[in-house]
Amino acid sequence: MNIAELQAYGYFALTIFMVVILYSYIYHLYSKKKNADGCDYENYSNMALKDDVTDTPVSAISDDKEK
């Protein structure tokens, strides 16, 4: 088996791997309405809309520390 053949198998395996990652990511995004912080992905848009320094963060980093 020469290097080109090895590369070919490598590419094939990698392509399959990438496809699996892609679809599991899509599944991850759309299956969970709520994530670990209890907020929907779509809520993250509010990071731009409510971005004054006095606004409450969508998922504050200090929440972690309090726990």
Partner: protein
């Protein structure tokens, strides 16, 4: 300090806004001069024969591309980062003396670098590699500037209050990493000052000169892997970062689908880098690399349109805002031009189309509908949105903005239509054979035929420059004499004077 409410600190953002406008004027002015030099070659010696060396097309051409890429666009990227970064991470630069210092140092060294680039390119000190023309001393300076920006990005992220990173921050991080990788590998070079002759002499020849680590075909492969993706990570990724923040904010609409924005991000990251081979179709690089370049260029339509459509759908049900606000007009047209040029690019990357298009003005037209229509419009829109907030003043004139919008749109349309015709005309003439199988046209026939299109292109470019000067004036007047506004007027739509 404790008694004063915390505020975002836009000092560094303001500095980069200034260089965005200045280098924008310089880069676009040189572009207009170059355009007219092609239409009317007499302009090459416009300052007399003595200075012809410095007003000549070939000397100015790298200065135009670099002023627009590394001056205008990069300044715009930095300016918006120092604005958007603080806001979506909900942390002020004023909270960290260290980050403030880094930011100011970043700006200072950046200006030094810009001046060094202008001087050296005018003097003809260049490595000839497109958008990587700088010799090694400037390369090192650029790396330092880049590292400082990285420290600023990750420093600000390190002290953030918002746990998750907003999609724009993703794109800024990708810009930082992408350019860092590409720039380092493409500029691998050995200074010739290290040479020692067999007789033992050292230190002769120009100290700044260097020789590329790669030769011939390899050099071309690395260069266009860089060249194509410098466009990706300079002209696409950070501009997408801007539109994902500024369009929702200005219109008050949440992104149509935040999930789609994440998917498009990973799609763009993975696919973009493969497409560089389309610059080298029918060259001496391996055939499979060329084919990969072609295929991935077409695949690239998906993530690009994912972002662009997401932005247009964000305006769903709110299209009256497009009619009402020139600022929204700029962003919606930018997004439209993004869709347009990310469709045009893949078409040009198809081998049989590329056989005609490569080496012609169609490619120049493609670059410019992307840069003038998408990058330029988006950066100007971002600065328009930022101005009232960083200066706490109303935008000076809404009608001036609207006029500027239409003048520049007309300019872009004239530019790319004339370049389409010029490119396809020339491409077809080059390959035309007569009935006996001889070439139908000598090369000069294919040049003189372009004169009218070069003239139209020059006029298009000039209109865009005029619009940009109106933009600069509008921002200046906003800064100096706009009506002062209160914080509560700045929630979404920017306040504009008549």
């Amino acid at each position: 300090m404790e008694n004063r409410p915390l505020e975002y600190d836009y000092t560094v953002a303001k500095m980069f806004m200034l260089t965005t406008i200045l280098t924008g004027i310089v880069g676009m002015l040189i572009g207009v001069i170059l355009a007219f030099e092609l239409a009317f070659p007499g302009i090459n010696t416009i300052l007399g024969d003595g200075l012809a060396e410095y007003t000549n097309f070939s000397r100015l051409r790298p200065l135009h591309t670099d002023a627009v890429i590394f001056g205008f666009t990069l300044s715009g990227v930095f300016a918006t980062w120092y604005y958007v970064g603080q806001r979506v991470l909900k942390v002020s630069m004023a909270e960290s003396g260290f980050l403030m210092f880094i930011g100011k140092l970043h700006f200072t060294l950046y200006v030094v670098g810009v001046i060094a680039v202008i001087v050296s390119l005018l003097a003809g000190v260049t490595t000839s590699k497109e958008y990587a023309e700088f010799e090694w001393p400037i390369d090192i300076a650029i790396v330092v500037v880049w590292v400082l920006w990285g420290m600023s990005i990750f420093g600000l992220i390190g002290i953030r209050r918002e746990k998750s990173l907003y999609i724009s921050v993703w794109y800024y991080i990708a810009t930082f990493l992408g350019i860092a990788m590409l720039y380092l590998f493409n500029n691998m070079e050995i200074p010739t000052m290290l040479a020692a002759s067999p007789a033992g002499e050292t230190g002769f020849g120009a100290w700044y000169h260097s020789v590329s680590m790669y030769s011939g075909t390899n050099d071309a492969l690395v260069q266009w892997w860089y060249g194509h993706n410098a466009v990706a990570f300079g002209f696409t990724v950070p501009i997408v970062a801007m539109i994902y923040y500024f369009l929702p904010k200005e219109s008050g609409q949440a992104i149509y689908s935040y999930k789609l924005s994440l998917l498009s991000f990973w799609g763009l990251m993975f696919v973009y880098l493969w497409a560089g081979g389309h610059h080298l179709l029918f060259s001496t690089v391996p055939d499979w690399v060329q084919t990969m370049g072609s295929i991935f260029s077409v695949v690239l339509i998906l993530p690009s349109w994912g972002s662009a459509i997401n932005m247009l759908l964000t305006m769903k049900g709110e299209w009256q805002q497009v009619a009402a606000s020139p600022l929204i007009k700029f962003m919606v047209l930018a997004s439209t031009f993004y869709m347009f040029s990310t469709l045009e690019g893949p078409i040009q990357a198809i081998k049989s189309v590329n056989a005609i298009a490569h080496f012609t003005d169609w490619i120049v037209g493609h670059v410019h509908d992307g840069v003038l229509g998408w990058v330029g419009f988006m950066i100007m829109a971002a600065l328009f949105h930022m101005a009232p907030r960083v200066f706490k003043r109303e935008l000076y004139s809404k009608s001036l903005m609207a006029t500027q919008f239409w003048i520049q749109t007309l300019g872009v349309v004239l530019y790319f239509t004339s370049m389409w015709i010029a490119g396809i005309t020339q491409g077809m003439m080059w390959r035309a054979h007569d009935e006996f199988g001889n070439l139908a046209y000598s090369f000069i026939d294919t040049v003189t035929v372009l004169h009218p299109y070069y003239t139209i292109r020059g006029v298009g470019g000039l209109l865009y420059l005029v619009g940009f000067l109106m933009f600069a004036y509008n921002i200046y007047k906003t800064m100096t004499s706009g009506r002062r506004v209160e914080e509560n007027e700045l929630q979404s739509a920017s306040p504009m004077g008549a």
